[in-house]
Amino acid sequence: MIEPSITRDSADGHFLQIKNIVKTYDDVVAVNDVSLDIAKGDIFALLGASGSGKSTLLRMLAGFETPNSGQIILDGEDIVSLAPYRRPINMMFQSYALFPHMTVEQNIAYGLKQDRMPKSLIADKVVQMLRLVHMEKFAKRKPDQLSGGQRQRVALARSLAKSPKLLLLDEPMGALDKKLRNRMQLEVVDILESVGVTCVMVTHDQEEAMTMANRIAIMEEGRIVQAGTPRDIYEAPNSLQAAEFIGSMNLFRGEICVDAQDHAVIDSEECANKLYVSYGVTTAIEDKKVVFAVRPEKTLISREQPESEYNWCRGTVHDIAYLGGHSVYHIRLENGKILNSFMVNSDRFADAPTWEEQVYVYWSDDSGLVLRP
């Protein structure tokens, strides 16, 4: 990793260790040598596009798929060879998979019955779970008499009823509409934290991953691109792939021309001025080609020419997307390159730059990142 010094939650032990997992279907490699360490109490998100192997990995944790090689160690025990019904793991399915012929109560009690828990204990536990997800009033309803959000609560209660060591969430918000999604994200996290269960979730929605998880792994083509806290991944992506996957980036291709202990300077044909990064980049002489990246919200716009020697260029406003809370400016540089800049609309009717106006785009010395192409 190039970027130093961003703190990370200290992992207390290795509760769930995924070691060198490989899964192939015929000649397609779905999961390619993935290793992850997940701490107790973590809410860990596997983030990736469809086909990235994230769901396959989740299904291997649940026991529905068997890896070709590798180990999955949960709380000191290798569970790869355990059948799904023997694993101390429960899953909330994307479609919830509630049993349509059973009431809410019976759905929640199903797992406990399989364990042959005494009836009175089951009843207590069901009431406790219903209370946890605020569904006491709906105990006697069938799943088709519930709304999407209510079904999700039942599904969550069912998967938590057996107090699993590990909870798996498969696209937990996938079946909900946008508004409900935002509410349920926070509510589900509250519930998970109150129970204190370790959780691995799969999602393709970066906002969802960042809202819900305290650790994220980005998957692409069966590999982990980067794992870390949401902040790590956003502010210190370790590769172009990771940087482009989360949020957007303004990128400049160039070569390192100054390589000092505490800073580096990059010469790029795509920017009129040199680019400065405020940390040292160790680089070999033959490996000078890099990509300089800066986030749009750190890319600022001004009508006056910045005084700095570095990190600015001139352009015209090409397009403005007014989104209410902020606006996205598309600035066309003289060489035709388009940069994005987010401007917070803190004044109601500010005198902001408008279409075809000439502006300067700049950013502070510690905003930029150096990535390998």
Binding site: A62, Q114, K162
Partner: protein, 304 residues
């Protein structure tokens, strides 16, 4: 513009009527009318004439005579033969349905779980035999089951038995024939129910600690109830009135309602009694038919 819409609406209204008219006409001609004729004959007296029963309405002495005769129904209760025949038929239908379910359920289950390309081949194999004549297929079973038939020859040749088994002309042969002939009626509705099942429910069940067999009994089986009811009714209802299979494969002692009907109608030429027999059979069958319809409605609703 509005007028045009009005006219279009009117024409679609007419169109709907026409679309319904064809099946309605069909039902009136080939179901309602024959049924009314049977109803009429059931309340007539047998006589040696052409047709061999008394008229319902007759004109004599400048008066309409309405002749409604209940004797046939009373006669049905007086002779044990008919009660035995009804009960035998119901028993035969129930046992056949049970065996069809026992054999058909696993078949439907594995077809529904097979790859989509394999599924269509397997379904074709289920349907293929019904492309040949029903009668020929039943005659073929005579060739298989008779004492010097294929089955006995193979069993004796392999040394499993020393003497030929007497299967033909027994109830066992009738059951074999019925289960064979009606199996597709069980498999197809079950298949169309099972193929719609969401596999994630089974995974959820396993995830919650149930093994495969438990998952089947707790999840798949209850969810396929509508398919079971549909298949069972499609077997049970026609088997109650089945005539050909007991006649060809069964012995003389297998008294079922279909055979009794035939004897009354053709051997005794007692059309009124035969009609009364048929009416009672219909009344008995109303119960499962009603049951079937209610379930069918539920199935459609759950599809929505």
């Amino acid at each position: 513009m509005n007028k045009l819409i009005e006219r279009l609406k009117l024409s679609t209204e007419h169109g709907k009527k026409w679309v319904i008219a064809v099946p309605t006409l069909w039902l009136v001609l080939f179901f309602a009318l024959p049924f009314l004729i049977v109803l009429k004959i059931a309340f007539a007296e047998a006589e040696i004439a052409i047709p061999p029963y008394t008229a319902l309405l007759s004109m004599a002495d400048q008066a309409f005579d309405l002749h409604v005769y209940f004797g046939n129904f009373i006669f049905l209760t007086e002779d044990d033969l008919y009660l035995t025949a009804y009960l035998n038929s119901l028993e035969m239908a129930a046992i056949s349905t049970f065996f069809c379910l026992l054999i058909g359920y696993p078949m439907a289950y594995f077809i529904a779980r097979a790859k989509p390309s394999t599924q269509s081949i397997l379904l074709l194999l289920i349907l293929l035999p019904s492309w040949t004549s029903f009668l020929i297929r039943i005659y073929a079973w005579i060739g298989i089951l008779k004492s010097n038939g294929v089955l006995n020859n193979v069993l004796m040749w392999t040394g499993v038995i020393n003497e030929p088994l007497a299967i033909l002309n027994t109830n066992i042969a009738v059951y074999i024939g019925i289960v064979y002939a009606y199996l597709p009626f069980m498999v197809l509705p079950l298949y169309s129910n099972l193929v719609k099942h969401d596999y994630s429910l089974i995974e959820a069940s396993q995830d919650l600690g149930a093994r495969r067999l438990q998952s089947f009994w707790h999840i798949t089986f209850p969810l396929s109830r509508n398919g079971i009811v549909a298949g069972s009714m499609l077997v049970f209802i026609p088997v109650v009135g089945e005539y050909v299979i007991p006649e060809l494969l069964g012995g003389t002692n297998s008294i079922v309602i279909g055979k009794v009907l035939w004897q009354e109608f053709f051997n005794n030429r007692d059309w009124p009694l035969a009609s009364a027999l048929a009416l009672i059979m219909l009344l008995i069958l109303m119960v499962p038919i009603h049951f079937f319809r209610k379930h069918q409605e539920k199935e459609w609703e759950s599809d929505k």
